[in-house]
Structures are given as structure tokens and as C-alpha cells.
Symmetry: C2
Subunit: 144 residues, 2 copies
């Protein structure tokens, strides 16, 4: 088995619907009201800082209309704030509230801790070079 074949098999397993759902469940189980569908909205908003629904939709690869609906759901939960654009009355800026930032932090920590457990016992230099390689591969693999 060549390295590329080995990587292909691992990615194949990772992309299986059930496994993906399982990872997302572990990620979001500690934050009420957030699930695998709304998590990307929070996470994207955290990275973008602030964005309109249209812009955010591009970032997370979802349709505008879906992003609007999920953002509304998160606003009801108090995790996302909506503010008007002073220069463009059509636009609405979405931002994380303090609660929203805390929720993202909680979920990120859950994922990081899961990964830390899974890599416990790895030599530090192996872990570090793996992380760098993975980032490089994902960047090369994904559009944008």
C-alpha cells in the first residue's frame, strides 16, 4: 500500500457519514441548541469576526437562505448578534455575542481534547510534523 493509498483509505473512513456525524456530536454535545448544522455558522463567524449572511454563506459553503435561517436560530439562542449596517440599509452584520464566543471556545476545546487523547503517547516531534503536514495537505486539497 502506497502512502497515497493509505491516506485515501483514512480519508475515506473519515468522510463516512456516520463517522462525520459522530465527530460533530462529540463536538457540540456540551452546548445546548447547537448541532452539526449550526456549528459551522458559529465557527465561521468566529474566524471571520463579523460578516453578512451572504458573505458568511460563501465562507462555510452553504446557501444564503440556509445561513440566514441558522443565524436566526442562533440569534434566538443569544449566541449571535444582528446589527444594521449604517451605510447600507439592506445589510445585516452578524457577530458572535460573548455567549457565542464562549460556545465556540467550548466546542473547539472538546475537539482539541479529543485529538489530544487520540495522540497521547506520540513523540512530540512526530505530532508536530504531522500537524504541519496535515494542514499543508488540506490546504492543497480544498478549493479556496
Amino acid at each position: 500500500m502506497t502512502p497515497a493509498e493509505e491516506i485515501a483509505a483514512a480519508f475515506g473512513a473519515l468522510l463516512l457519514r456516520g463517522n462525520r456525524a459522530h465527530l460533530y456530536d462529540r463536538l457540540t454535545e456540551d452546548v445546548a441548541g447547537v448541532d452539526s448544522t449550526t456549528y459551522p455558522v458559529l465557527s465561521g463567524l468566529d474566524r471571520a469576526g463579523s460578516a453578512t449572511a451572504t458573505r458568511l454563506a460563501e465562507i462555510i459553503g452553504l446557501d444564503r437562505t440556509v445561513t440566514t435561517r441558522y443565524a436566526a436560530r442562533l440569534a434566538e439562542l443569544g449566541l449571535v448578534a444582528r446589527t444594521a449596517d449604517p451605510h447600507d440599509a439592506r445589510a445585516v452584520h452578524l457577530t458572535l455575542t460573548v455567549q457565542g464566543r464562549a460556545a465556540v471556545a467550548t466546542m473547539r476545546a472538546a475537539l482539541v481534547s479529543t485529538l489530544a487523547v487520540a495522540t497521547a503517547g506520540w513523540p512530540a516531534d512526530e505530532l508536530e510534523s504531522f500537524a504541519v503536514s496535515l494542514r499543508r495537505l488540506v490546504d492543497a486539497l480544498l478549493p479556496g
Copy 2:
């Protein structure tokens, strides 16, 4: 950014719906009738060799009923063969046809080639140790 955080960010990007769909599209675009929903059935059958719908459903993490329907679709395409169990008249064994095996080979090759392109220029030893680490991480991360 710690290695675990770096890995978390890369996995987060990989699991985004749009990116996952994009990878599956590249994988299946060369085989008519197969898409991101039926691919796991073919791939799972290729690994299992032969399996009943119930057993295959467990392997790929889908419901029995869905697996039955997708297998029926693939049987219509001539990619999957259905044979009766001589010892149990209730059971139906699913197997890949020659065409089915060819389809799996085509799709696997597409993924492997995508990965090979993305890792072109990597030192051979780095690539190899990355592949080993990734397999180890995915095994530790996923149930089963």
C-alpha cells in the same frame, strides 16, 4: 497554535459539508450512476467481499432500509449482484460484479491521484510517516 489545535482546524475544514461534497464529487464523477450516497455501499462491499444488507449497513454506518435501497439501485446499474443464501432463504448476499469492482478501482484511483497531486514534492520519508500517523490517528478517533 498547538499541534492538536492545528489538527482540529484542519479536520474542521475537511468536515465542512461543502468540502466533503466536493471531494466526493471528484471521486465519483467518472462513474455513471454512483454518487456520494451510493459510493460507500460499493466501497464497503469491496472491503467486505460479500455481505448481507444488514451486515453491510453496520459496516458503512447506514440504516438497513437505506442500504437495501442503494444496493437495489446499484444492482440495476449492474454493479452489484444479488445471490440467495442456500442455508437461509431470508438472506440475500450482495457482491460486486466485475463492473462493480472496476467502478471501485476507478474511484479509488481518482482519490489516490488527487492525493498524489496534492502531496507532489513532499519528501518521500515525510509522506510515508504522515500516512502512517494519519492512519493511526483515524483509528484512534473513530469507533470500531
